[in-house]
C-alpha cells in the first residue's frame, strides 16, 4: 500500500502528441490535414470521418471538464515478475516514448459537471496491453467508485492481456471482472467505451461487461485478432468484420457513437442514472 497517495490535478499530457508536425496525413482518405484543424475536430478527419487514435491524456482532455481530473494510484509501476527476456527494456522504451508509467490512467473527474471515475487505457504504452498494474489500477478504481456510489467509465484501447506477465496478465481479467461483480452488486453504473482497437483479454473481461457498452465509430473490437482468425479459417474476412458497427448489428454493443458525440452521450447517461444507485 502507498504511504502517500498524492492526487495529481493535471489534465495536460506530459507528451500531448508526437511528432509535433504542423500537418498530419489521414490514414483512410490520405488527405493532408492541418494539425490545429484536426485537433479542433477531436482528431477526426473532417473529410472522411476517420478517427485518429488518441493517447490516454488526449482522451481525458477531450472527455472530461477542463481541470476536473484527479489522477488516482499514479505511483503503481510495473515489475518483471517472470523475468521475461527483454521485458525490462520494452517497459523502459514504452515509458520513454509515452511519458507514462503504465498502460492505463485512472482517476476521478467531471463530464458536463457529472462526477465519474474514469479509466483510460493507453494504446501508446505497449499497445495498451493489460499486465498486473493495469488490472490492479482498474480494480482499485472500480472499488473506489463502488465505495463512493459514483459511476465508473472505462475507455478501452488494447491489444489484450500482456504476454510478458503471462499468468498474472491472464488473471487480471478475473481481477477486473471480480471488481465489476462487486460494483454490480452495489448497483453502481458502469459504462464501457470500446475504442480502436479493443481485442483479446480486455474484450473478454471488463470491456464487454458494461451496463452500457458503447463503441467508438470504426473501432476494431473482437476477441481474436483478425490475422489469427484468417489463419484459422483460411479465408478472407468479410468487409467491416469486427468493426464497431458490426458488433452493434450482432447485439454486442448498445450503440456506436462518433467521437464528438461521446461527451454529450456520456453526460446524458450519467444524468439519467443520477441518484439511481441503490
Amino acid at each position: 500500500m502507498a504511504l502517500f497517495r498524492k492526487p495529481q490535478y493535471s489534465s495536460m499530457p506530459a507528451r500531448p502528441d508526437r511528432p509535433r508536425d504542423i500537418a498530419s496525413k489521414c490514414d483512410q482518405c490520405k488527405s493532408i490535414l492541418i494539425r490545429q484543424e484536426l485537433e479542433k475536430n477531436l482528431r477526426v478527419c473532417p473529410r472522411c470521418g476517420y478517427h485518429f487514435p488518441l493517447t490516454a491524456w488526449q482522451r481525458i482532455q477531450y472527455t472530461l471538464d477542463e481541470g476536473s481530473f484527479c489522477e488516482l494510484n499514479a505511483g503503481l509501476e510495473p515489475v518483471n515478475p517472470l523475468g521475461f527476456p527483454g521485458y525490462d527494456d520494452k517497459l523502459a522504451r514504452a515509458r520513454k516514448d509515452s511519458g507514462l508509467a503504465e498502460a492505463v490512467i485512472t482517476g476521478r473527474g467531471l463530464i458536463e459537471g457529472e462526477p465519474a471515475y474514469v479509466g483510460v487505457l493507453a494504446p501508446e504504452f505497449m499497445l495498451g496491453s493489460m499486465g498486473s498494474v493495469v488490472g490492479e489500477k482498474l480494480a482499485r478504481m472500480l472499488d473506489e467508485a463502488g465505495a463512493q456510489g459514483v459511476p465508473a467509465i472505462i475507455f478501452s484501447a488494447s491489444g489484450g492481456a500482456r504476454m510478458q506477465e503471462s499468468i498474472f496478465s491472464l488473471f487480471q481479467m478475473a481481477k477486473t471482472s471480480a471488481a465489476l461483480a462487486r460494483l454490480h452488486r452495489k448497483g453502481v453504473l458502469y459504462i464501457s467505451v470500446l475504442t480502436h482497437p479493443t481485442t483479446g483479454g480486455v474484450t473478454a473481461s471488463f470491456a464487454m461487461l458494461g451496463d452500457i457498452n458503447i463503441g467508438e465509430s470504426g473501432a476494431l473490437i473482437g476477441f481474436a485478432g483478425p490475422r489469427v482468425i484468417q489463419q484459422t479459417i483460411g479465408q478472407t474476412l468479410p468487409a467491416g468484420f469486427q468493426r464497431a458497427e458490426f458488433l452493434l448489428e450482432h447485439g454486442m454493443l448498445d450503440m456506436v457513437v462518433e467521437r464528438k458525440e461521446l461527451r454529450p452521450v456520456l453526460a446524458r447517461l450519467l444524468r439519467l442514472h443520477r441518484g439511481g444507485e441503490r
Binding site: 498486473s132 498494474v133 478475473a174 471480480a178 461483480a181 452488486r185 471488463f206 484459422t232
Partner: protein, 315 residues
C-alpha cells in the same frame, strides 16, 4: 518429448531382445536384464523429474491423457450430462452435467478434447464457441440454485478464433463467466488437467482454488503464438515456453496455483486410474474445507484471492 522417450524406448527394446535371446539360448541373463531395467527406471525417473517447460507442454497435450469425460467416468458416479445454452446450440467442445462425488451431488464442467482425430474434429479440439461458455454459465447458475459445488476441468488450446465465434460474442461470453464465477455463491474448484490456454481456459477457471496436474501447463498465450509475436518465428516455441513460466510448478511458485497434483511416473497417460485417484483425493479434500464455509465467507475469500494476483511496485 520425443527425444528422451526414444532413448527410453531403445533401452526397452534392448531389454526385450536380451530376454528373447536368453529364452532361445536357455541362458540365465536375469542379472544383466535386471541391471538394464534398473537403468531404464533411473532414466525414466530422472527424465520426468527434470522435464523442460517445452517437454511439459508436449506432455500436457498428449492425446493419451484422459479427457474431461474420462475423468468424470473415473471420479464420479451417477453422471447425467446436460446439453445446450438455450440460445443457439449445444457446443460439443465443452461438456457438463450433474454427478456425485463421494455420494454428494456436484456440477461438473470441462473442455472436451477428442480421443482420436475424428472425435477431435467433432469436439473442435476442445476449443469452445461462445455457446459453450454460455452452457457452462447456465449450469453454474443451476448449481448455485441447488447449492451444488462446481468442479471445472480445464484442458483447451483456447477459445475458438472463428467468424461465428466472433459474431456471437466470444469475448462477451468469456467476460460474463468471469464476473459470474467471481460471485457464484457455491464452492468453485478448477483443475487444469492438461493445457490451460488463455482466456478460453480462464472462463472455467475463476474459483476458490486452482489445482494443476503435475504435468499441466497454463499461460496467457501458447508458446507457439508467443514466439510468433515476439520473434516472428513460431519454431522458437521452446524458448517461449520457458519464458512464459507456464508449468504447474511455476504457477505454484508464483502463488497462482494452490496445489500441484502428482501424476504417476511418465504422466497420467501411463496410468489413468492411479492419476485419477490423486485427482479425486485432492478434490474431496478441497471441497471438504470449502463446504464448511458460509456463502459470505466463501465469496470474501474468493474475492481476496483474485485481488491478490499480480506483482507491481508502488511509491
Amino acid at each position: 518429448m520425443a527425444d528422451f522417450e526414444e532413448q527410453l524406448a531403445r533401452l526397452q527394446d534392448k531389454i526385450r531382445d536380451l530376454q528373447a535371446f536368453a529364452r532361445e539360448q536357455g541362458l540365465d541373463l536375469r542379472r544383466e536384464i535386471l541391471a538394464l531395467e534398473q537403468k531404464a527406471a533411473e532414466l525414466r525417473a530422472r527424465m520426468y523429474a527434470s522435464l523442460s517447460p517445452w517437454q511439459k507442454v508436449q506432455l500436457a497435450r498428449d492425446v493419451r491423457r484422459p479427457t474431461t469425460l474420462d475423468y468424470i467416468d473415473m471420479l464420479f458416479t451417477d453422471f447425467i450430462q446436460l446439453h445446450g445454452d438455450r440460445q443457439y446450440r449445444d457446443d460439443p467442445a465443452l461438456v457438463g452435467g450433474i454427478a456425485r462425488l463421494e455420494g454428494k451431488p456436484v456440477t461438473v464442467l470441462g473442455h472436451q478434447k477428442g480421443r482420436d482425430t475424428k472425435d477431435n474434429i467433432a469436439r473442435n479440439f476442445g476449443m469452445p464457441h461462445p455457446e459453450g461458455y454460455r452452457k457452462a454459465l447456465r449450469l453454474m447458475e443451476q448449481a448455485e440454485k441447488f447449492g451444488r459445488p462446481v468442479i471445472c476441468f480445464i484442458d483447451t488450446p483456447g477459445a475458438y478464433p472463428g467468424l461465428g465465434a466472433e459474431e456471437r460474442g466470444q469475448g462477451e461470453a468469456i467476460a460474463r463467466n468471469l464476473r459470474a464465477m467471481a460471485a457464484l455463491a457455491v464452492p468453485v474448484l478448477a483443475v487444469v488437467t492438461g493445457e490451460g490456454g488463455s482466456g478460453g481456459a480462464l472462463a472455467l477457471g475463476v474459483g476458490d482454488a486452482l489445482l494443476m496436474l503435475e504435468h499441466a501447463v497454463y499461460s496467457v498465450i501458447s508458446p507457439e503464438g508467443c514466439a510468433a509475436i515476439l520473434w516472428k518465428d513460431s519454431s522458437r516455441a521452446r524458448e517461449a515456453a520457458a519464458a512464459l513460466k507456464l508449468t504447474a510448478q511455476d504457477l505454484a511458485r508464483l502463488g497462482v496455483a494452490d496445489e500441484v497434483i502428482p501424476e504417476p511416473q511418465g504422466g497420467i497417460q501411463k496410468d489413468w486410474q492411479a492419476g485419477a485417484r490423486a485427482v479425486k483425493e485432492a478434490l474431496v479434500r478441497h471441497l471438504d474445507i470449502l463446504s464448511g464455509l458460509s456463502a459470505d465467507t466463501l465469496l470474501r475469500r474468493r474475492q481476496r484471492r483474485l485481488a491478490a494476483i499480480g506483482q507491481w511496485r508502488e511509491h
